[in-house]
Amino acid sequence: MTATREPALRLQGIVKTFPGVRALDGVDFEVMPGEVHALLGENGAGKSTLMKVLAGMYQPDEGQIIIAGQPVRMTTPIEAKAQGVVLIHQELSLVPEMSAAENIYLGELPRKAFGRVDWKILEERSNAILKRLKCNFRAEVTVAHLSIANQQMVEIARALTVDARVVVFDEPTASLTDAEKVVLFDIINDLKSQGVGIVYISHRMDEIFTLSDRITVLRDGAYRGTLTTADTNEDEVTRLMIGRSLDLSRNEAASKFGDTMLEVRNLTCTGLFEDVSFTVRAGEIVGFYGLVGAGRTEIAETLFGLRTPTAGEIRVDGQKVEITSPRDAIAMGVSLVPENRKEQGLVLQMNCRDNMTLPQVQDLTAGPFVAKGAELAIFDQYREKLAIKTPSWRQPTAVLSGGNQQKIVIGKWLSMKPRVLVVDEPTRGIDVGSKSEIHQLLRELAAQGYAVIVISSEMPEVLRVSDRIVAMYHGRVMREFDISEVTEDSLVQAISGIKSAEPA
């Protein structure tokens, strides 16, 4: 780093608060021209928020954005782009029915008289950019026909229509094969040699150490330091990421469990997860920890009959079972509290009582009609048990808070008396107070003898509720930890794909 050069971009003391959360707390970050600067942090550490501030999608409450020495204010992504700051999204935001060229220049198509699109110039320019990216397809091709990797190239090409000063890559390799990664890294190095500043966000340590010049770590919305990649190692970065100040109160390991309720052997769903084996006993909570895309949700969906495994077997209460639909799963006593309760768990317009009894309403009848008294009895029982706060059973679930919605979904399955309860991201989008309430509830359920699987991307959560933790990386079980032996370092390393020296 030469002191004479101006950073391409500098963020100073950025503060951003949302109701109830201080998402960014005085974050400093800079990227030099021709530098790859990696941004690291756990889920919820504030990386995405910081990048949205950078891309003009959020306004910081405090702090400054300085581009090439000048403080700037950016209120829309278009303004940010005009300043030469481009964000390449984790989720592709292309119009699949349009050609690559149209996507690259979306919103700023070159025009002729009477507002007609100048197709010739459009295609010339687009093909020039694709050539620069060494792409082997033409700009005229429809995006829907391209592979995911090539679609990502279109997304990158879009960033290069302006003279980019800074390009932000947010988890760019999440959907790429190893070969495609090599191409991407070439492009990044290419941009770098042209003097573009690169911000690289990723969870994958190996990539970060291959690519980056410097690493900045965020934790809980706060800046934790910047390291020069050449002078550091994975351990140091990991330690910075986890920190020591975090409240990592742990579940006290329970000593006695019941029989094995769920046994999964060599379960495989090609392309999603492979050779997964684990057991869950009655009265035990097994936490599944890993990065987004590690295959945890897919395992839950397979257990619940939403996916068909390509190999392996599932045993519930000692019996080998074939689960091909949620109906089967429910009949076998396997329940799923899904990741997105609004999309997958609740009928939002429907009232609380009816949502709660949805899977068993066909058994609650008196003559031809639904026995509403019996339904209400079930609702009242679980409203009390789970402390669901709603003025009346008549409330549509849409108006409840996230925590109470989640309790309705949990109550729905508890009222079915399941053998195995799978809870995917139990506290996503739920405020802090209700969070610990839900954690408490999960522990109580285990104490009552339920076999529980908790899938979570938050380390404090897995540590707080689990008796055992299964760490996953890239569709595989990396290690299984007993709660008494797990360390934060080893957990982070396991889910980052780092093989540990100590035996599992």
Partner: protein, 329 residues
């Protein structure tokens, strides 16, 4: 405002704005149009309304379920053609008035069959119900023309056309049939497991599947019910006319959907009820009848109804949007 919402009737009207509208037009025409407020005319409205009303009951089920059925007008015409034609089949020549029975049964079965085909295709192919029933609308109407040879069928048995003038006590038999159907479908929707699951599937199909509900059979049952009701409507209409014409029931799907949407059922599914649909059907019936009595030309009636449809939905969006927790786009 707080005082208003304490009054149960007003609170009820806030949730069912269409009934407020029904009340207003009812009072308006009672004052403005001679002959409107008479027992005879009011019964007339119910009879006139019953044709669209019966189909609207089925459409409410189908729409709450998250689907739509555009083929009802054509199904009505096909069923009416069968009902009138089968009576004159040689096989039943010696049956006397009993020849009406197999004719009506066959007509109703044809309706159920058409619905079953729609439902089965939607279930098994996953093609959007709008597209499937649009195709069915064209196809079934084509069948009607093939079957009738573009001619009208006339009922030779006068007992058939006398049926529509019969009364049960003081009530016209058509009004009684409609009333029974309203109660039956209301109970089906609000009290049975099938009704509950119809809401669940339309409200959030994924959540319904995750609750172990078999989505397809529920959709198919609802399509069969609307097919039955459309056929019943066709039979009753042909008794009123003593005939079945190949163009019978043209545009009915649009009237029916208008009535159902006016009654508060959402095109996206999951929301609505029979009480609202009844209000929507009556609103259209009263407007048409009242404006007819005031000798407003029929074209203006269409303009006014179209405007009212948009206005009512706009007001509904303004007042009831936030309560749904929906996004304002």
């Amino acid at each position: 405002m707080a005082n208003f919402t304490q009054i149960p009737l007003l609170r009820w009207l806030m949730r069912n704005p269409i009934w407020g509208f029904v009340l207003i037009v009812f009072i308006f025409f009672s004052l403005a149009a001679d002959n409107f407020f008479s027992e005879r005319n009011l019964m007339n409205i119910v009879v006139q309304t019953s044709t669209i009303g019966l189909i609207a009951l089925g459409m409410t089920l189908v729409m709450i379920n998250g689907n739509i059925d555009l083929s009802v007008g054509a199904t009505l015409a096909l069923a009416a053609a069968f009902a009138v034609d089968v009576q004159s089949w040689a096989a039943f020549a010696t049956w006397g008035n009993w020849q009406i029975l197999p004719a009506v049964c066959i007509a109703l079965l044809v309706g159920i069959l058409m619905g079953a085909i729609n439902g089965f295709i939607v279930w098994k192919t996953g093609v959007d119900a709008f597209i499937v029933t649009l195709g069915a609308m064209l196809g079934i109407r084509g069948l009607v023309f093939v079957y009738t040879g573009e001619q009208s069928f006339y009922a030779m048995n006068f007992a058939y056309s006398d049926f529509s003038f019969m009364t049960i006590g003081p009530f016209p038999v058509l009004a009684v049939i409609f009333a029974v159907a309203v109660i039956a479908v209301h109970l089906l929707l609000s009290r049975t497991v099938h009704g509950r699951n119809t809401y669940a599937v339309g409200g959030n199909r994924e959540a319904a599947v995750n609750a172990g509900i078999r989505v397809g059979p529920h959709m198919m049952i609802n399509f069969m019910l609307i097919g039955f009701l459309a056929a019943l409507s066709g039979v009753l209409l042909s008794t009123q006319m003593g005939a079945a014409t190949p163009n019978l029931g043209r545009d009915y799907e649009l009237w029916v959907i208008t009535a159902v949407v006016l009654g508060g059922t959402k095109l996206t599914g999951g929301k609505g009820d029979i009480i609202g649909t009844l209000g929507g059907v009556l609103a259209i019936g009263i407007l048409r009848n009242g404006m007819n009595l005031m000798q407003v030309p029929a074209f203006y009636v269409l303009v006014i109804l179209g405007s009212i449809l948009i206005a009512v939905l706009f007001l509904d969006k303004r007042f009831n949007r936030s309560a749904d927790g929906g996004l304002r786009l």
